[in-house]
Amino acid sequence: MTNDKSPLQLISRGILSENPIFKLALSMCPAVGISTTVMNGILLGTAVLFVQVFSSVTISVFKNYIHPRIRIPTYTLTIATWVTVIDLVLAAYMPEAYAKMGIFVKLIVAFAIITMRLEMFACKESVNDSFWDGLGMGLGFMVGMVAIGLVRELLGSGAILGYDVLGFKPLLFFILPSAGFFVVGLMMAFFNWIEIYYKRRRGVQ
C-alpha cells in the first residue's frame, strides 16, 4: 500500500478532513478535560505535535522489524520513550516552559490519536510521509484544542490567553469538565455542517 499524497495534502488532511478531535473523535479525554484555556491548548498541542512526529518517524523506520502480534505494545513503548525524553529535556533545559507544561506532557502516553496514527499510517508508509502525517495530525490536534479552549475560556472566564477581554465571567459552567462535552459536541456539529455545506455547493456547480 503506497501513499500518493503530497506533504501539503498530508498536513491539510490532519487539520481539516481528518482532524483528530472533530472528525476522528479520538483523544477526547484531553479535549474535554484540559481545554479550559487557549494556553493549555497550545501547550498540550505542542507537546503532542512533537511526540506524534517523533513516534511516527521511529515506527516508520523500524516498521519491518516489528512483529505484527506485538505492534500495540511496541507503539506504547515508543510513545512512552519519547514522552519521557521530552519530559526530561524540558525539565532540564526549558524550566520555564516545563513549569507550565509538565503536567500535560506525562498524560500524552495514553493518547489514542498517537497510537492510532502509528497503526493506520506510520507502520505502512515511508519515513518521509510518516513525518508529514505526524506533523499534520499534531497540528490538527493543536488547532482543535485551541478552538475549544478559545470558546471555553472566553465564555467561562471572560478572557483570551489570560487577558481579560469581556471584563466579567459570563458562565463559569464552561470551565467545568462537563461543559467540555457540550462544546466539543457543538463544535463537531459545526465542522460537519461546514463540510456538508461545502460539498453540496460543489456538487451543485
Binding site: R69, L172, I175
Partner: protein, 298 residues
C-alpha cells in the same frame, strides 16, 4: 512456539532499546534538572522574603539551615538537629539530640564543611557518626532561619502533603511570631483550570499576613470571594487598600476555589499542619538551646 520465542526476543530488545534511550537522556539531563530545581528554590525563597527580581538584598541578610533528623536507638525515638555553629563557617556544626519530651540527650560538635552540609550524602554520614553506634538516623526535613544583622526575621520551610491527586509541595515563609508571610507552590499535579488554581495569586494572597492564631484554626468556606476583596487579592488596587483588606480578612477563613474545594482545603490544612508543627518544634529547640547555653549562628 517459534512465534512465542520471536515475540519474547523482540519485545525484550525493544524494551532494552527504549530503556537505554531513556537512561542516556536521564544521564545527560539530570544535572541540569537538579541545578534548575536548586535555582528555582533559591529564587522562591528570596521572592517570599520580598526580594523579587531586581530588588537589592542587604548584606546583613543571612540564611542558616537547620536539618532535622529522626534518631531511633534501642527502640526509643528522638529528634536530632544539625545546627550551624556560632562563629561563621569555621565553627562547624552542632548536632543536638532532643528526646520527645523536649529534654536534651546529647549535643555533639560535627566537623563538616559548609559545602558538604548542603549535600545529602556526606551530611547523612556525619550525622550517623555523631548519633553514635547503634542509632539509625533518617532525614526528616530542613528549615531555614533568616536573620538580618543577627535578628531573626523569618523562617523558611518546605512541606509536602496530599492534594486532590498526588502531593502538593510548598515552600512557606513565616515571621518570628509564626504569622504567614506567604507561600509558593513548588510542585503539584492538580487538575488544570480547577485545582491548579492554587498557584494563582488570588488564592495564595488570601494566606498572606494570617497571624498564628488564625492559622491554627484555619478552614475553607464554600462561598464566592467578594468582588472588592478579589480585586485586592489580584493587586488591582493600591498598596494601602490591599493592606486594609488583609487586615479586615486576617482572622477569616480561606475562600475555596470554585470546583476545587478539596485542593483548596488540602492547601489550607497543609499550611496549618506545617506551621503548627514547626512552631512547636522551634519552641522546644530554642528552650533547649537556651537552657544548655549552646551557641549557634542564629
Amino acid at each position: 512456539m517459534r512465534d512465542m520465542i520471536t515475540i519474547v526476543v523482540r519485545l525484550t530488545i525493544s524494551c532494552l532499546l527504549a530503556a537505554s534511550v531513556m537512561g542516556l537522556c536521564f544521564i545527560f539531563t539530570s544535572n541540569a534538572k537538579k541545578h534548575n530545581e536548586h535555582v528555582k528554590e533559591q529564587q522562591v525563597m528570596y521572592e517570599l522574603l520580598g526580594y523579587s527580581g531586581a530588588a537589592e538584598r542587604p548584606a546583613s541578610l543571612a540564611m542558616h539551615e537547620l536539618y532535622r533528623y529522626v534518631v531511633s536507638s534501642g527502640g526509643r525515638q528522638s529528634i536530632g538537629y544539625l545546627l550551624p555553629g556560632a562563629e561563621g563557617e569555621e565553627a562547624g556544626f552542632l548536632f543536638v539530640n532532643i528526646d520527645l519530651d523536649g529534654r536534651l540527650i546529647a549535643s555533639t560538635p560535627v566537623a563538616l564543611s559548609a559545602g558538604d552540609a548542603l549535600e545529602a550524602e556526606p551530611r547523612n554520614r556525619a550525622i550517623q557518626a555523631a548519633a553514635g553506634p547503634g542509632a539509625s538516623v533518617t532525614f526528616a526535613d530542613q528549615t531555614i532561619v533568616v536573620t538580618d544583622g543577627g535578628e531573626r526575621i523569618a523562617y523558611l520551610m518546605g512541606g509536602k502533603f496530599q492534594g486532590f491527586k498526588t502531593f502538593i509541595h510548598l515552600m512557606l515563609a513565616v515571621d518570628p511570631d509564626f504569622a504567614l508571610i506567604g507561600f509558593e507552590v513548588l510542585e503539584h499535579e492538580e487538575d488544570p483550570g480547577l485545582g491548579a488554581e492554587i498557584v494563582e495569586g488570588y488564592f495564595k494572597n488570601q494566606f498572606k499576613g494570617k497571624p498564628f492564631t488564625a492559622i491554627k484554626t484555619i478552614d475553607v468556606v464554600k462561598a464566592p470571594i467578594p468582588d472588592d476583596y478579589y480585586k485586592a487579592l489580584t493587586g488591582k488596587v493600591g498598596e494601602e487598600e490591599i493592606l486594609r483588606f488583609r487586615e479586615q480578612y486576617k482572622e477569616k477563613d480561606i475562600y475555596a476555589l470554585t470546583g476545587a474545594t478539596i485542593s483548596a482545603k488540602a492547601v489550607a490544612m497543609g499550611v496549618k499542619g506545617i506551621v503548627t508543627k514547626f512552631a512547636y518544634r522551634i519552641d522546644v529547640l530554642d528552650r533547649v538551646l537556651q537552657e544548655q547555653q549552646l551557641a549557634t549562628s542564629f
